[in-house]
């Protein structure tokens, strides 16, 4: 037995040393050159960037990130060989391991693209002070006390609002044409619309509220049902959720989940002659729902990644909380489907122009009520204890609107407004 143990140890050691020969180790003193006044620039082509993705190119949300990163790298001059990818990393300790592995390979910055990666990214950030870590869609960077840890998110609520406008135009058209039946109205005579959400927290709440307000800006008398799938990507569950909503009589189904499950189900119902239409997310849904897709709200991630890579190459800190929308063309909606109502494009252009020039605020307190009353004060959690009752927590409503994504990058609008019913909230 002793002999066996020894030979086993030998084998392990041999394999390990063999592997060590196989790869040139990264130089030990690989700290970034920094000076007192903000750091020095590195040649862009030498900068290595690590990316941790929750899915791969087959999944719309992640595909949008990959696309944005590649474009940004080309803009800034980072060679594609110096971008190291980790695909399909689950939201658990594998993320920490992936991050550390990327640091080992010489990455100067590591990006992760899903909310659940955040605490593992923060753990890695605490251990590798000379590497910058960005948890996209996260919300704890500002109060983490770490100077090398950041969050970023687009102001996607703006494009959701615009996609809501597209949906609103369609609702108005359906009503005018008399295409709806009694089943499509609730007891109070409002047209029913639906929304397939992933998880019941601020990011999703902010998104569906913006969508709803967009619809209401065109057609006031609507009410919306929201179901949650408790997954970011679940084709079957999203399809089922859409079917359930359509069975309730909903005529437009929006979504904040990453698959094509809902649009495909809606296309099937539409093909049977039901007046149902889809508003997607991340990617153009026209190829899965050619007759039912109106448009999709999307992010143009290359805008953010270009900002971040530029800072990195210049030896500066990546912005701690980055959030930009239409003002920087960081969000958009995809081309309108043939089902979109007449005059939609003009209305869309008008809305986008109003958002850009600041005359339209998505979360204007004049446009919604909570419990029947207008809201004039709502605090946002700023210290990460997920309530909004502490001193650090800040007031987000002033000048007559809720300042979404201004106090921190991640969406923070979590009021449940009148007219929206969460069907599966726990």
């Amino acid at each position: 037995m002793k002999k066996k143990l020894v030979s086993m140890l030998m084998a392990t050691v041999m394999t390990a040393s063999l592997a060590a020969c196989g790869e040139t180790p990264a130089p030990a003193g690989n700290t970034p050159a920094q000076t007192e006044n903000g750091g020095t620039a590195t040649a862009a082509s030498d900068v290595k960037v690590g990316v941790i993705l929750v899915g791969d190119e087959n999944e719309g949300y992640t595909y949008a990130h990959i696309d944005g990163i590649k474009k940004a790298a080309a803009n800034v001059g980072i060679s594609e060989d110096n971008i190291l990818w980790k695909y399909s990393v689950p939201e658990d300790e594998s993320c920490y391991e992936a991050a550390v592995d990327l640091v080992d390979q010489g990455c100067k910055a590591v990006f992760s693209n899903s909310y659940g990666h955040q605490s593992f990214m923060q753990q890695a950030a605490g251990e590798y002070a000379d590497v910058q870590f960005v948890a996209m869609t996260g919300d704890t960077a500002a109060m983490s006390g770490l100077s090398n840890f950041s969050n970023a998110f687009t102001s996607v609520y703006e494009s959701r609002y615009v996609s809501g406008v597209v949906a609103g135009m369609k609702v108005a058209e359906l009503v005018d044409n008399g295409a709806l039946t009694d089943a499509n109205y609730d007891a109070d005579g409002n047209v029913l619309i639906g929304y397939v959400g992933a998880y019941p927290y601020a990011e999703v709440v902010s998104g569906y509220t913006a969508f709803f307000l967009g619809v209401q800006s065109v057609y006031q008398n609507v009410s919306m049902e929201v179901t949650y799938t408790n997954s970011w990507f679940d084709i079957a569950a999203e399809g089922e959720a859409a079917n359930a909503l359509m069975a309730d009589g909903c005529v437009i189904i929006g979504q904040h989940a990453d698959s094509t499950g809902a649009p495909a189900a809606i296309q099937a119902a539409n093909a049977q002659g039901k007046p149902v239409y889809s508003v997607g997310y991340n990617v153009d849904m026209l190829n899965v729902a050619p007759d039912a897709a109106l448009t999709s709200a999307t992010n143009n991630w290359s805008v953010y990644y270009t900002d971040a890579f530029t800072a990195l190459v210049n030896g500066e800190k990546i912005p701690t909380d980055w959030a930009k929308g239409y003002s920087a063309d960081a969000v958009a909606i995809t081309a309108l489907g043939s089902a979109a109502a007449e005059g939609t494009q003009a209305k869309v252009d008008e809305t986008i122009a109003a958002i850009k020039d600041g005359s339209l605020h998505v979360f204007s307190t004049d446009s919604f009520t909570v419990g029947g009353a207008k809201i004039d004060s709502h605090k946002v959690d700023m210290n990460g204890d997920f309530d909004n009752e502490d001193e650090e927590d800040k007031e987000a409503i002033w000048d007559g609107y809720f300042h979404e994504s201004e106090l921190r990058a991640a969406p923070s609008f979590d009021l449940r407004i009148d007219g929206i019913k969460e069907l599966t909230a726990e």
């Binding site: 066996k4 086993m8 060590a20 790869e23 990264a26 695909y87 658990d92 923060q122 999703v204």
Partner: protein
């Protein structure tokens, strides 16, 4: 996939000796499969090496056919993915220890021919309890907290194995189904715990527990956070080896495994042995859950066990219940896993492509076990005329 393989092995094992020694049949089949126990150590190694070489060849063909990549580059990538840097070596070692720990836990049950398919669940409940301790008892002094975590996780795992054992001992229920179903209960419990402890609310993840205080985390010793993992698993490995081979309990387990009737005839209380052995088996798996949470992930989710409870069954079987061999087999599986991940990342191959390579390699390894245990006898061509 894991389970299928397992069942296949089980059947082989059960079809043992008696059936094959038929007195001259009228017409001989073209191939007969005969159990063999005479293969020499060197021969066994040779068969296994041949298996691995064949596996590498076949996957090389598949890799080239699908991706046009040079297979050698792909294999190099695998090795560097598993052992290329210090972090990667530790990550592979950590995975190896996890698999070994669970397989060590399974060993006494399997040795007794009690098909404990419930390791996944036993690991999970151990993990839940550990996470609970880390969350609610974080203010306890470290040594006390660790003692509580170890005991609680072992108790939880033992309880999860005790239920099927009790039913088997008292009413001879089918333990395969019972332990399997206990997994689903444990998975639901885990989802419940995640929903209860989720941070932030609605995100459906627990996140890193005690991120700032590191309360209940295995301490970093000698520059590695996995030091305690190594120590604990190696201790368990030695303990289980001795327990199974040199103690009265171990002997009783072996006898019950060979034949319950013989055991009864020898005056062994079969029911008591079953329950005692499963308590031990479950406790070790529960402790594996504690190591997974406190010593590696610092969080809890259904991926805390992540199918390792099933993979460990392969490990236990291939190792023939020799706990030291388990270390080697686990190392192989951990290597394949880390290596496959790196292929996906470096060669821009999809995950699934690298999983195929793992599948091919495992297929050949399991196949070589077949040729070690059985001999194929072909009908002699001369006899064909008769």
């Amino acid at each position: 996939m894991t389970e299928e393989k397992k069942t296949a092995t089980t059947e082989l094992e059960e079809n043992e000796a008696p059936a094959v020694h038929e007195p001259k049949p009228l017409k001989e089949p073209i191939v007969r499969i005969v159990k063999r126990e005479d293969m020499k150590f060197a021969q066994r190694i040779a068969v296994r090496l041949t298996g691995i070489v064949l596996a590498l060849l076949v996957s090389a063909i598949v890799i080239y056919a699908i991706t046009k990549y040079n297979p050698i580059t792909v294999y190099e990538t695998m090795i560097s993915g598993a052992f290329g840097t210090r972090t990667r070596i530790w990550s592979t070692v950590k995975e190896m220890l996890m698999l070994t720990c669970i397989a060590v836990g399974l060993a006494p049950a399997f040795r007794m021919r009690f098909w404990n398919i419930g390791a996944e669940g036993q690991v999970l409940v151990g993990g839940i309890v550990t996470a609970g301790c880390m969350i609610y008892l974080k203010d306890l002094p470290s040594p006390v907290l660790f003692a509580v975590m170890f005991c609680a996780s072992m108790l939880a795992g033992a309880l999860w194995a005790f239920l099927p054992a009790l039913f088997k001992a008292k009413w001879n229920t089918n333990e395969t189904l019972f332990t399997l179903m206990m997994n689903y209960v444990a998975i639901q419990l885990t989802s419940f715990a995640v929903a209860k402890w989720e941070n932030p609310f609605g995100s459906n993840t627990v996140g890193v527990i005690n991120q700032n205080t590191r309360a209940g985390w295995f301490p970093t010793v000698l520059g590695t956070q996995y030091f305690l993992n190594v120590v604990l698993v190696l201790l368990l490995t030695v303990f289980m080896f001795v327990y199974l081979r040199y103690t009265k309990h171990g002997y009783e387990i072996a006898v019950v495994g060979e034949s319950e009737n013989t055991a009864r005839y020898a005056g062994i209380n079969v029911g008591a042995v079953i329950i005692r052995t499963l308590l031990l088996s479950g406790a070790v798996c529960g402790l594996a859950g504690c190591i997974a949470v406190s010593g590696a992930s610092h969080t809890i989710s259904t991926s805390t066990a992540g199918g390792r409870g099933f993979t460990a069954i392969i490990v236990a079987w291939l190792a023939k219940f020799n706990t030291f061999t388990m270390l080697l087999i686990s190392l192989l599986l951990a290597f394949l896993d880390s290596g496959a991940g790196e292929i996906a990342s470096k060669c821009k191959l999809n995950d699934y492509a690298s999983q195929m390579i793992i599948g091919i390699i495992l297929f050949f390894i399991l196949g070589s076990e077949f040729f070690i245990n059985y001999r194929l006898i072909f009908r002699k061509s001369g006899k064909e005329a008769a």
